[in-house]
Subunit: 453 residues, 2 copies
Amino acid sequence: MTDHRSHVTDVIVVGAGMSGLSCADTLLRQGVDVLVLEARDHVGGRTRLVEADGEILDLGGQFIGPGQDRVHALAKELGIEVFATHVAGDHLVETSSGRVRHWRGTVPRLSMPQLLDLAQAQARFERLARTIDPVAPWSSPNAAVLDDQTLATWIGRTLRTRGGRRLYSLATRLMWACEPSELSLLHALFYARSAGSLQAVMATEGGAQQDRLDQGAGELARRLAARLGDRVRLGAPVRWIAQNDDEVLIGTEAGDTVRAARVVVAIPPVLAGRIGYDPPLPAGRDGLTQRLAMGSAIKCLIVYPEPFWRSDGLSGQALSLRGPLSGVTDSSPRSGNRGVLVGILEGAVARELAALPEHERKSAVLDQLARLFGPRAARPCAYLEQDWSAEPFTRGAYAALFPPGAWTQYGPALRTPVGRIHWAGSETATRWYGYIDGAVRSGQAAADEVLMS
Amino acid sequence: MTDHRSHVTDVIVVGAGMSGLSCADTLLRQGVDVLVLEARDHVGGRTRLVEADGEILDLGGQFIGPGQDRVHALAKELGIEVFATHVAGDHLVETSSGRVRHWRGTVPRLSMPQLLDLAQAQARFERLARTIDPVAPWSSPNAAVLDDQTLATWIGRTLRTRGGRRLYSLATRLMWACEPSELSLLHALFYARSAGSLQAVMATEGGAQQDRLDQGAGELARRLAARLGDRVRLGAPVRWIAQNDDEVLIGTEAGDTVRAARVVVAIPPVLAGRIGYDPPLPAGRDGLTQRLAMGSAIKCLIVYPEPFWRSDGLSGQALSLRGPLSGVTDSSPRSGNRGVLVGILEGAVARELAALPEHERKSAVLDQLARLFGPRAARPCAYLEQDWSAEPFTRGAYAALFPPGAWTQYGPALRTPVGRIHWAGSETATRWYGYIDGAVRSGQAAADEVLMS
């Protein structure tokens, strides 16, 4: 409230995540003057670089996969190389009683009835997902029936074996960082459809976890921001957005006021709903932001002097029904200079463990890793974590979750501009919703929308 | 941002609805100095008085019932008389094809299979509701299973006849102003339990619609505010709340800063989530506010020179499967000087009709009333409406809806104070959640909490 500088630009972009930066970059290259306002002291949104033991690692989104053309094109343009996620060796699966088994391929070793149960459920899910219109899920056939129920209800109805239901719930946590009760079946189907298929969401080879980016996915944001230069203003949380027939006026927490012809709000819906709007947003748009909560994810990075599991014939990939981590992946840097395991505490587990002091959470994670990979796993050279729900300018991860009723009742408000306000962010993507690729697409789409307005 | 007045008081209450006013009133009578900050230019929250054709009417909450001891006591203390909702005469029910039938008592005329279906479902619901702990629904037996599903799923599983399912969905709209997909079964059960039973929620005689307040329910707030005098500051939306070990600092939109030892936030969760907090709220509390959306209700008041339906042998009460209003009630003033019908557009219907110009919405409502009560109903002397979802400082009605997973995952954060911040509002009540009585209880409970802190 101390400084009343006034700035005039063509377009203001709120948020310097992958969506906002992609939007600003696209606009700038079309000769449109932009200003990006970012609440945090760094760019990247739900991607984030961190240094540990001399290595640059990702504390946020890190994987990319086939079909993610926009992020691939962007990486190429920015000179960032893509390399394959390490998969050679045996994977592990830990039962709820703590028994560890080796497996290979795409499905852990299970009894024949469980395998059949999973295969049948998988086929049903994929068949249903193909009926969803990824651009307008609310207009899909049977949208109302699919949106009336939670994914938990569908799992309970469809899977007949206890093991099958457990694995489906585990997969829910891995894919959406939430419990199966927290999302609408329609949303789960839409999400898979926006990625191509559930198989594409889950798979490493041939799927969304297939590849990684040299120097970290967070490098994309860093290079885009470098290109935008002082058009990106950090530490500038937006408090209110006012508009009239001629322009948009934006107020930051520090009391600055900035003017532009248009604004692109490129942050998750829950954060967009916390900005003040004058005039107030229509009830439909506001109702949407009231409903789209974020998932709960605490990402844990565990750094070792070397990827020792590889010489034991292990891939570093594990699934666990016992937890606390539902899954573990080899996330070692391309150089192989260090060994890095990555795991995410998700949903209810994230919420429970968030209340513990870090050293207790760390112990629980290292105990589990030792069960899976042996005693060396209990002695990392670094342990890092990020609770995305506790991050004031993110408030959860991986993405917004549509609860039952939200897509069918409020879906049309997701991308519809309100006067001079346009919406971006991975949640507005019609392909790869919730992914880095979706963020890039959404930013570019919003830029196109602004250019045509 | 123009005026930097600083004010010191013991307790600041955010929101001058029934909860905030009850809280402030209780504190003041214990000798605690209070300041109530209200965003709007009037008090009352989700109750609201309006004048039409010389009569004072309620545009918001209006009914009270047996067991609502706190609101009864408050009315008595404030000298406001209670009178019975008009029920004499035949009720009407309109089928989805528009056929109108007369009925009496508590259940509309239905076929025997439908009646049995409804009776069985009702008994099951009440039996389940009695298992819920209204203070800690998340710790009820089977809480996880009940919170895994929507009310829509339960209706689909429990009711066998199409007519039964339709009436249950209609009842959902009447009770919660939402679609059955929008709330968790656990929440529906908790809600009924907090009111005593589903029967108590639905009934007029012996239930929550039994009585009304002379001069309108909104008169409660008006008189409480009069007692608080200049301790209530109108037009002062709160933008941020900061706290340290010693005090709370609160900033309003106009740039004023006010200090106190404690603050009671007595507004719906979605609005509480839009205030900025320093330090940021814990993820559990924030996650709760991300999830609790409000219902959708447009209240319509239709005023006639007299309650003409009474002389036709009609009670003025109607249910309709055709709509747009799901239900109609005689809401004439006690004097009988005018005839007033009240109806609410709820859930999906509210969202659809909100997009129409007022005259079209009015036509749809008057057409329906003419089908029910004859041609005189099409010629009111006044038509008033309030879309609570479009009200920037309410953003929906009647109350917040817990979607699946929210009670079990985030319930404990509902009432737990965060440092010097206490929570009130009808959504924090353990009895009569969402009612005026719940608001009064919650405000008094928060006052007690502050006094003991």
